[in-house]
């Protein structure tokens, strides 16, 4: 009996509380930097595509919304021939970002992607590629390790040691 009256009174006191509602189109909500919204493909500091078309994002995607085709340029550097994300399927889980070995694919705090035509929800590579580096500045996958792509010499990467001379007996 008393608890019922107390409930009514406490509910009444909510008149004096601040409302939680954000009036969206006029007032934009604050989105934290790591908010998972629209997916972008980033470039490295030399303005080359970071994506090496390894297909890991497409494999990690739980709803299979990413599709891409790998190809190589004349130096042997891999890049996607096309890169397509169907945002009408995407669930913004961020698994693709976690799977990406080159920090190429990233989720940014932008969610205003509504379209009148469902076909416009399919983003091609030219829609996904941005000019900047996204969240990871100065990172270039080809400078860390791996085969020579004309970016670094053999064994000169940040994460690799100079190659061992196999014909030498010295330790």
């Amino acid at each position: 009996m008393f608890s019922i009256l107390r409930t009514i009174w406490l509910t009444f006191l909510h008149i004096f509380h601040k409302t939680e509602t954000i009036e969206y189109p006029e007032v934009k909500p604050y989105l934290p930097p790591r908010y998972r919204g629209r997916i972008v493909l980033t470039r490295d500091a030399d303005h080359n595509e970071r994506c090496v078309a390894c297909n890991l994002c497409a494999a990690a995607c739980p709803v299979d919304c990413i599709s891409l085709q790998a190809t190589e340029d004349e130096t042997g550097r891999r890049y996607p021939e096309f890169f397509r994300i169907n945002f009408s399927r995407c669930i913004f889980c961020g698994f693709c970002e976690e799977a990406c070995p080159t920090y190429a694919i990233q989720l940014i705090p932008d969610f205003e992607m509504a379209e009148y035509d469902r076909q416009n929800m399919v983003y091609e590579k030219e829609h996904l590629l941005i000019d900047g580096e996204g969240k990871y500045h100065g990172y270039n996958f080809h400078k860390e390790a791996g085969v020579d792509m004309g970016v670094k010499g053999k064994g000169e990467g940040k994460n690799e040691e100079t190659p061992v001379d196999v014909k030498d007996l010295m330790p």
């Binding site: 409930t7 009514i8 509910t11 009444f12 909510h14 509380h17 409302t19 939680e20």
Partner: protein
């Protein structure tokens, strides 16, 4: 000519209050839930009601092929008719009432009993198990609460020595009946909640269990009539509480009596909405137990004590 104006006023004021309540309730609930509520259509979202009405009119008015068609169509009308008829005996101001019945309270109780038919027939004609369960619950709930709804008012009737609403208002010139009849007021309030099947007691609808209960097959303006009928019911119960316990149109003379009547009614409506915002729905057997084991003895006790005191001081 004056009579036509009174009838129009008595018909249109409750109807417009009931329509406006759709907006008032959504805004008040949002205030109590730390939200904003509808505020886009017109100033403060006031035209939300109009938008909703237009939407209801344009919806397909579908009568299910498995339903009992004439009864199905008739049921929402009964609700509106019984409630609107009751407004004719309530004085909105001195002389501002359609007819001063000397059995006003009995007329109100009879009409609110007839209102059960709307829900029972609606649920029955829908030919749907959830609707039928809702209708059965509604009939049991309303029969239960009808009993001491009447009994709780008898204290007021004894004190005013009349069944006419107008005489009861005039009898409160020297003090509202809520003070001597506080227990009666509480019992009537709870019975009124159950009678309009408002939210703590919305067991006939119980969207969690029955999927809207008795009106789950209704669409378009037929659903709209049930919807507005519910708000009309709140308006009616609030108006009757204002008349019987809060002195009706009596009030300081600097504002017209009609204002005081409507003001008291609106405050009571807000209390109804506050209860909706704060209380959870009881289980069905809890509701019946509460009615028969607590409220009925309380109403009888109130009746006994009021009678004893009145005889003692006579």
């Amino acid at each position: 000519m004056k009579f036509v104006f009174i009838i129009l006023g008595v018909l249109l004021i409750p109807l417009s209050i009931a329509a406006g309540l759709i907006w008032v309730e959504r805004r008040l609930l949002s205030v109590w839930q730390d939200r904003l509520g509808p505020n886009r259509v017109g100033p403060f979202g006031l035209f939300q009601v109009i938008a909703d009405t237009i939407k209801l009119f344009f919806k397909e008015d579908w009568v299910p092929p498995f339903s009992d068609r004439p009864v199905f169509v008739m049921a929402p009308g009964i609700l509106m008719i019984t409630i609107l008829l009751t407004f004719s005996v309530i004085p909105f101001g001195p002389g501002f009432l359609v007819f001063d019945s000397n059995i006003g309270i009995l007329f109100f109780l009879g009409n609110s009993s007839l209102g059960v038919y709307s829900i029972v027939l609606g649920g029955w004609a829908s030919n749907n198990k959830y609707s039928l369960i809702g209708a059965m619950r509604a009939s049991a709930q309303m029969l239960t609460y009808e009993v001491f709804m009447g009994l709780s008012l008898m204290g007021v009737v004894m004190m005013a020595d009349s069944f006419s609403f107008n005489s009861i208002v005039l009898a409160q010139k020297h003090g509202w009946f809520i003070f001597p009849q506080f227990v009666g007021f509480i019992v009537f309030f709870i019975a009124g909640l159950a009678e309009t099947h408002r939210l703590p007691f919305d067991i006939p609808e119980a969207e969690g269990e029955l999927g809207a209960g008795y009106h789950s097959e209704y669409s378009g303006m037929k659903f709209g009539m049930f919807f507005v009928g519910e708000y009309l019911g709140i308006t009616l119960i609030s108006a009757i509480m204002a008349t019987l316990f809060f002195g009706g149109w009596l009030g300081p003379a600097f504002l017209p009596p009609v204002f005081w009547f409507l003001f008291k009614t609106m405050v009571l409506i807000c209390v109804f909405i506050l209860l909706r915002a704060s209380l959870p729905r009881p289980r069905y057997d809890q509701l019946m137990e509460f009615g028969w084991k607590i409220l009925l003895p309380l109403a009888l006790l109130n009746l006994l004590i009021t009678g004893a005191v009145l005889i003692f001081f006579k």
